[in-house]
């Protein structure tokens, strides 16, 4: 078609009329029919890409649901309350993994939230201007390190430090709570919680920074004008207004912690038991998948593992959707309400 255009050059330009669809194009590159046809192809191709994104999600859901049917029919809801994970006798209960995932993630939040919010507040409210850029760059650098390298560092640096110094100290001072007792292996729930905390701090602090930045300046000025000190200004004028967004950031961090695999697998000890002490080894949903999936021999075994994957998928989706909604409500919703 392009060749034909050479023989029949358009001698007159189009007369565009406002509101009327231009039928003839004066483009030197293409004839009108080329443009229309190519436009249609392009539109379909682009729509196809968008549909594939939709398809990927559908594929994930369909594969996880259909391949976990076997285990679902065998155990039902009891799957998540059963305590023994016994591949030899083909009996599966996922409670130790659910417990390990929840405990390690919440432990990580307890450690990470005060630190991350502190860093966020410091960078937006207190930090001298010249330090602001380097500081946010450095915290974001933490997010760029692959999780296997976190795990490597945790095995060879964090775990020995915990075993030799931190755990004996905790056992001496807080041993009576029952949370810090037993032999100090180093590896275990505590190590997993700490490495997860280090990994989610950048997410929480960058979201905190983002939502603090959209708190209107006059909120700060108003509180200062009432005679507040800086810390009172931050507490009343800034944090209270950005509360929902910060909670959103925290939940986003939780979502990452729940699904984190490698670093946790390397330090949690990988034993499917439920223990009260944080020194004891545990197991998480993601790490059981990492360790056992490629060796799962029986159909039911594989199906049980995929059901764990499905549960992990659903939980992280709910957590992420909630987080996005909260962050969005602050950064793009109504201007922050004054509630002093």
């Amino acid at each position: 078609m392009a060749n034909q255009a050479l023989f029949r050059p358009q001698m007159t330009g189009p007369q565009p009329i406002a509101g009327q669809k231009i039928k003839k194009r004066a483009s030197p590159l293409l004839t009108s029919s080329d443009g229309v046809f190519a436009d249609r192809v392009f539109g379909w191709a682009i729509l196809g890409c968008a549909l594939i994104v939709l398809g990927i999600l559908a594929l994930i859901v369909w594969q996880l649901v259909s391949r976990s049917q076997l285990s679902w029919h065998a155990f039902g809801w009891k799957f998540f309350w059963g305590q023994d994970w016994d591949p030899v006798n083909d009996h599966y209960g996922a409670l130790p993994f659910v417990y390990g995932t929840l405990v390690s993630s919440f432990l990580a939040l307890i450690i990470a939230v005060p630190l991350a919010v502190g860093v966020g507040v410091f960078t937006t409210e207190m930090c001298p201007k010249w330090l602001r850029g380097p500081l946010s760059f450095t915290t974001e650098l933490l997010a760029a390190i692959p999780s296997v390298i976190y795990g490597l560092w945790a095995i060879f640096v964090l775990v020995p430090v915990l075993r030799n110094y931190v755990q004996p100290f905790l056992a001496r001072t807080l041993g009576w709570t029952g949370l810090f007792e037993g032999p100090p292996y180093g590896i275990g729930m505590l190590a997993a919680g700490i490495i997860l905390a280090i990994m989610i701090i950048p997410i929480i602090s960058s979201i905190t920074r983002e939502v603090l930045a959209v708190v209107p300046q006059h909120q700060r000025e108003a509180v200062l004008a009432l005679g507040a000190t800086r810390s009172e200004m931050i507490r009343i004028g800034v944090l209270r207004n950005a509360r929902a967004g910060i909670v959103g950031g925290i939940i986003l961090g939780l979502g990452r912690a729940l699904g984190e695999t490698m670093a946790v697998t390397m330090v949690i000890g990988n034993r499917p038991e439920i223990a009260k002490s944080l020194f004891a080894p545990g197991y998480t949903m993601a790490s059981v998948l990492a360790n056992e999936f490629s060796e799962a021999a029986g159909d039911l075994y594989l199906s049980a593992l995929i059901e764990i994957g499905l549960a992990l998928f659903l939980v992280t989706i709910i957590v992420n959707a909630l987080a996005r909604f909260l962050v969005w409500s602050v950064t793009r919703g109504q201007p922050a309400r004054a509630r002093v």
Partner: protein, 294 residues
């Protein structure tokens, strides 16, 4: 301005000791958190450089792994394997992500666009190990063995949402006047999008692509049961392939000292590869004719 009823000095006294103290405590807390957060960062990078450079040698970069327990050998096949898998992932994921991004920016102001936007955010939060399961189910089970292709598919799925959202953001930054000017000249829509809009946003889009690349380059979990790892060289797409992150993981949890040494060297090489790839592309983009307006 009315006269203050109390003098500045007495106002200062009214600021009770407790309020002054708590103000200082809060500042100290914030500074303290920054220091505590920076400690692990410095420790990780310090250790990585110290241990990594100490263990890096020529054999590491040129040889394949020795049998367990023997000293020596390297990760050359894993470095090559990683590049193979990442190439497959990028070839599949980048065009798809950019295409979906174009759809969202240029055609996506409707319900369906919002749905796609929400889905890519959701996909972004799916744990990488779950993506691995799906790649296993759709590729490995069909081929009947682990393969580089399966690893590439898993990484591609992980790249798409990041690229889609950054492409959309970057395209929306392109001023509408540019599009209107092109339409005014009678340039068809596809040509406008590809030659004007996309081209203007090139540098931003490439940054997004590199972000996605850097994110998946260090991924281990989705490769565990897709690429699986391999002790030997492999260039075939349908065979198990070694990957640098996988090798680091295997060596780190092994009981051999020499393998621990090599794990550190591998970690350093991985970080260097990621940083160089990102820096090189950014350099080319800034220097070359690709640099856009946005």
């Amino acid at each position: 301005m009315s006269e203050p009823t109390t003098s500045p000095a007495s106002q200062k006294l009214e600021l009770s000791l407790w309020r002054r103290l708590s103000d200082h405590l809060a500042s100290a807390f914030a500074v303290g958190t920054v220091i505590i957060v920076l400690v692990p960062l410095v420790a990780i990078f310090g250790y990585l450089v110290y241990k990594g450079f100490g263990s890096l040698n020529w054999a590491f970069l040129t040889q394949t792994p020795k049998p367990p327990g023997e000293v020596g050998g390297g990760m050359a096949n894993a470095i090559a394997g990683s590049m193979l898998i990442l190439t497959i992932g990028s070839l599949l994921g980048v065009p798809l992500g950019i295409g979906a991004g174009i759809y969202l920016a240029e055609f996506g102001r409707n319900r369906f666009g919002d749905l796609i936007r929400f889905i890519s955010d959701v996909l972004n939060g799916v744990p990488s190990i779950v993506i691995g399961i799906v790649a296993y189910a759709i590729v490995v089970l069909r081929q009947k063995h682990f393969s580089a292709l399966a690893g590439g598919v898993a990484l591609a799925i992980m790249m798409v949402p990041t690229i889609t959202r950054t492409t959309e953001e970057m395209l929306l930054l392109v001023p509408n006047a540019l599009r209107e000017a092109a339409y005014g000249l009678g340039v068809p829509r596809w040509r406008t999008t590809l030659s004007i809009t996309l081209r203007t946003a090139t540098s931003g889009i490439i940054t997004g692509v590199m972000l996605a690349f850097a994110r998946v380059a260090g991924e281990t979990a989705p490769l565990l049961f897709t690429a699986f790892g391999n002790q030997y060289w492999n260039w075939r797409l349908d065979q198990p392939t070694a990957a640098l992150p996988l090798q680091i993981f295997t060596y780190a949890i092994s009981p051999y000292d020499d393998w621990h040494r090599q794990a550190w060297a591998g970690a350093l090489v991985l970080i260097i590869l990621i940083v160089t790839a990102v820096a090189a592309v950014r350099f080319v983009v800034r220097r070359g004719t690709l640099g856009g307006v946005a």
